[in-house]
């Protein structure tokens, strides 16, 4: 269940980023980029994120997960292809492959609500 460790990293990072947005700011949504090799189960990740976010500024935020396909290149013949069934041997020459994408495990972006629900009071703060 590495999802819990990852969810805690996400929440820590959200808290860190939100310190630059003032005390009222909350995360509205959080977007992750996860490579196909990472064995991250989206449902488990969402459940863990929900739990890890309790009592933090990420509480209640929506979690979006962008899946990144596994793309590899043969070290011998240079052939590139997207791996559907995981296998790391070149179908053309049986050479060893290099992974070009599919190992991503990134917090890509955070949608931040600055917490100023009154436009006039916010513009005063900004000024």
């Amino acid at each position: 269940m590495h999802e819990m460790s990852l969810a805690m990293s996400v929440v820590d990072e959200v808290e860190r980023v939100l310190t630059g947005f003032g005390p009222q700011a909350r995360a509205v949504s959080v977007t992750l980029q996860v490579g196909g090799l990472r064995a991250v189960v989206p449902e488990a990740m969402e459940f863990c994120f929900e739990a890890a976010a309790q009592g933090t500024r990420a509480q209640g935020a929506r979690l979006d997960i962008e899946q990144v396909p596994i793309v590899v290149r043969c070290g011998h013949c240079g052939h590139d292809w997207t791996v559907e069934v995981i296998e790391f041997m070149c179908p053309a020459c049986e050479g060893p492959v290099q992974v070009l994408s599919g190992k991503e495990l990134l917090l890509r972006s955070i949608e931040v609500d600055d917490g100023h629900d009154d436009y006039s009071s916010r513009t005063e703060d900004d000024a």
Binding site: S5, M8, S9, V28, E50, Q54, L106
Partner: protein, 278 residues
């Protein structure tokens, strides 16, 4: 992230998991337009901003792993991270290894388990330093993360070691994700687990630099095809050596021990054989 942060983050009972597109409400009520529009809104709407972050979620772990790697490099300690599913024979391999390396190599062990000191107790007769990590108090992590291993290193006299072997928590998935500062990841697959496991758990076999097929003394009693195990490992990682071993009857252990000794020689810069006596 530190594993012991968990106690403060987890509520006693997790909320229901029916939340795939759950959209949380903050302290204020918003209309939907207020969530997606980055520009200032008329009175009553909140402002939202999308922030590009692009943080590696394993960055905190990886920073600890680099500190561990530097410490091990400073002392010239070769480190192997043994990983497998539970019951594949990691501890039995360690017992057989320590029995044969006594007086030849100064080995330290870090034992990772969710609970119990059973493995440390099994290794006690071999008279080598063993540090037990239990992840249970840290939320029962199913893998060793670098901060825990860094803490365990403090309990070892690295200057008195040639090699460190870390027995990870039994699990074919998560340990592959977490760099613990090792030189080599070693995966064990027992013949009773079936030929398909490299294909089902590809990241583990992709990250490993050596595969040991264990319990080969059981082959006469099983319908398992050792050549197919080799072929499936090669489909995931064509470059790694595959050594069939039996800790029970000693078959194949010399090949594994030669590999280990060669890695230690390389790390310590030894050019002589045998290495200095322990």
């Amino acid at each position: 992230m530190m594993p012991n942060d968990r106690a403060t983050l987890l509520p006693p009972a997790p909320p229901p998991a029916s939340l795939r597109h759950h959209r949380g409400r903050g302290p204020h009520e918003h209309n939907d337009a207020g969530f997606s529009d980055p520009r200032p809104l008329p009175s009553g709407g909140a402002r939202t901003t999308s922030v590009e972050v692009r943080t590696n979620l394993l960055a905190a772990n990886d920073r600890y792993a680099e500190v561990i790697r530097a410490r091990l490099r400073e002392h010239g300690v070769f480190t192997a991270n043994l990983m497998s599913s539970p019951g594949a024979g990691k501890t039995a391999l360690l017992e057989a290894t320590l029995a044969r390396l006594s007086g030849k190599l100064r080995v330290g062990i870090i034992e990772g388990d969710i609970e119990t000191t059973a493995d440390t107790d099994r290794l006690a007769p071999y008279g080598v330093p063993v540090v037990q990590i239990n992840t249970g108090p840290f939320g029962g992590d199913c893998h060793l993360a670098a901060p825990l291993v860094a803490g365990a290193l403090d309990k070892l006299d690295l200057g008195a070691l040639d090699a460190l072997i870390v027995e990870n928590v039994g699990n074919l998935v998560c340990p592959a994700e977490f760099d613990i500062g090792e030189d080599r990841k070693v995966v064990l697959l027992s013949v009773t687990e079936g030929e398909d496991k490299p294909l089902k758990y590809p990241l583990m076999f992709h990250e490993a630099r050596l595969a040991l097929v264990t319990k080969i003394d059981l082959l006469p009693y099983l319908d398992v095809d050792l050549d197919l195990i080799r072929a499936n490992i090669a489909r995931i990682n064509p470059q790694i050596p595959v050594f069939p071993v039996s800790a029970r009857n000693g078959e194949g252990l010399d090949v594994w021990l030669d590999w280990l000794l060669q890695e230690v020689r390389t790390k310590r810069g030894w050019h002589t054989d045998p290495p200095p006596s322990a």
